[in-house]
Amino acid sequence: MDSARAHDLRTVLSGDDIARATRRIAHEIVEKAKGASDLVILGIPTRGVYLAQRIAAAISEIEGVEVPVGSLDITLYRDDLRLQPPRALEPTSIPAGGIDDKTVVLVDDVLYSGRTIRAALDALNDVGRPAAVRLAVLVDRGHRELPIRPDYVGKNIPTSSTEQVFVRLSELDGTDAVEIADGAGA
């Protein structure tokens, strides 16, 4: 974080912006799904899980029903496992009702190459057979390497591939913000 601060760090989403974006995404999910029944919200660790919990809470508030929320770790499905030392696994927790015949909304913080989502789709395939899979992301920064597109976007932020996007959430980082660092020296 300190090394990031040393570069030119600009805030593109404030805490309020993030709150409004997650609320809007919650509304859009409910609108498209025509209600909150048969929805399952799954976050991709680490920060996607907290966003998923926020979206699920917002949907519960809007619709007045509890929405099952969980987490889906994709580490064992990554396509770059052989390029790096083994990574520690993050928790996977699928809600008790499972995902068969449900509409699963995957939630991640930043959509970039699309490879994480490719891995998540493979992981979902081993967990069950949902009726449909949707994708919600807080930030879409472009530069897709696979034919994947999000259904719900907090904010489209065109970036250069040398820049770095930092999503900070209060559950982990003590504050809510999305910042971009000029990655020239990173």
Binding site: D73, L76, Y77, L81, R82, L83, Q84, P85, P86, R87, A88, L89, E90, P91, T92, D122, N125, D126, V127, G128
Partner: protein
């Protein structure tokens, strides 16, 4: 980490990483598709010079659940019975492109030799060598204790473990003492003096000759198999006497605290070191140990083979 040769070489963080990874792996057994693509295209050779059913099957299942290709190489009926040396067997496996060799050998130190002689480029996992070590058994035992006694979190600080029986010939006991000490548990070995190795006072544990004094004070009691195939001398007068003095039966089990678990690495000699009544009781966790073994071995295979190959060494 490139090889897993000894439970003693695992530091606390590595041991906990393996246990945490195993906990995630264990969720797989509840899924409809019990398979992960993680080790696709990697080859794991089970090189078993000594008879083993559960350890070999456990490693085989663990590797297959991670999508590795598995080759079982048993010494019986193979080139080894025609006099092939360990080196030539290893060079053959290397030529076939094995990424990991899981080895069980009757000689203590064979896995170390295999790992450090530059015969093969892959990882070596010790699945039991002579009377030396059996690290994955110790890991699955620690996993089972942690799950029952510590809610599946953290290390084993303050957990009191009794290990009873043939410590002299037991690689399970040695690996357990070393790993449990690293994880903060307190171990008491219980055996007749003839079944304790020379130099036992150097081990990081207590020693007792009386099981009845130890039972009330433990959170987990591990009964070791009497290994008659390794016993070439008279270590105790009769099997009946051993069973009476060191076996765990229904009456003796009442000395155990209610929360304590009864463990056994298998295969059990019912009626010898453990009675059928105890083995089938609610406090016995042997069946669970087998299931946990698969999760722990998946974790070890993933952590050794799942990432980029280390270029060091």
């Amino acid at each position: 980490m490139r090889h897993l040769l000894s439970a003693g070489e695992l530091d606390r963080d590595t041991a906990l990483l393996i246990l945490d990874t195993a906990a995630e792996m264990s969720a797989l057994s509840e899924r409809s598709v019990k398979k992960l693509p993680t080790l696709r295209g990697r080859t794991v050779v089970n090189l078993f010079f000594e008879d083993s059913t559960r350890t070999r099957i456990s490693f085989e299942l663990a590797a297959k659940r991670l999508s590795a290709d598995v080759i079982n190489f048993a010494a019986k009926g193979s080139s080894v019975s025609k006099g092939e040396s360990l080196k030539d067997t290893a060079l053959t496996l290397e030529a076939m492109g094995a990424d990991a060799v899981v080895i069980r050998h009757w000689d203590s130190g064979a896995p170390y030799r295999l790992a450090h002689a530059n015969w093969i480029g892959g990882s070596v996992i010790n699945a039991g060598d002579g009377t030396h070590e059996h690290p994955t058994q110790a890991l699955l035992d620690a996993y089972t204790m942690r799950k029952h006694l510590r809610g599946g979190q953290g290390a084993l600080e303050g957990v009191r473990v009794g290990i009873v029986g043939d410590v002299l010939h037991s690689r399970v006991a040695r690996s357990n003492v070393l790993l449990l000490q690293t994880l903060g548990a307190e171990v008491t070995l219980v055996a007749p003096p003839t079944l304790l190795p020379i130099g036992i006072e150097e081990w990081p544990c207590e020693v007792s000759y009386h099981i009845d004094e130890v039972l009330p004070k433990v959170d987990a009691i591990m009964m070791l198999r009497v290994q008659s195939e390794r016993m070439k001398d008279a270590y105790f007068p009769t099997a009946r006497e051993y069973s009476r003095l060191y076996g765990l039966g229904g009456e003796r089990m009442k000395l155990l605290p209610e929360h304590a678990i009864v463990m056994h690495p298998g295969p059990m000699n019912r009626g010898m070191e453990i009675s059928a009544e105890v083995a089938d009781s609610a406090q016995a966790v042997m069946v669970e140990q087998v299931a946990n073994g698969v999760s722990v071995r998946m974790a070890v295979l993933y952590l050794l083979l799942g990432g980029a190959k280390e270029l060091s060494e």
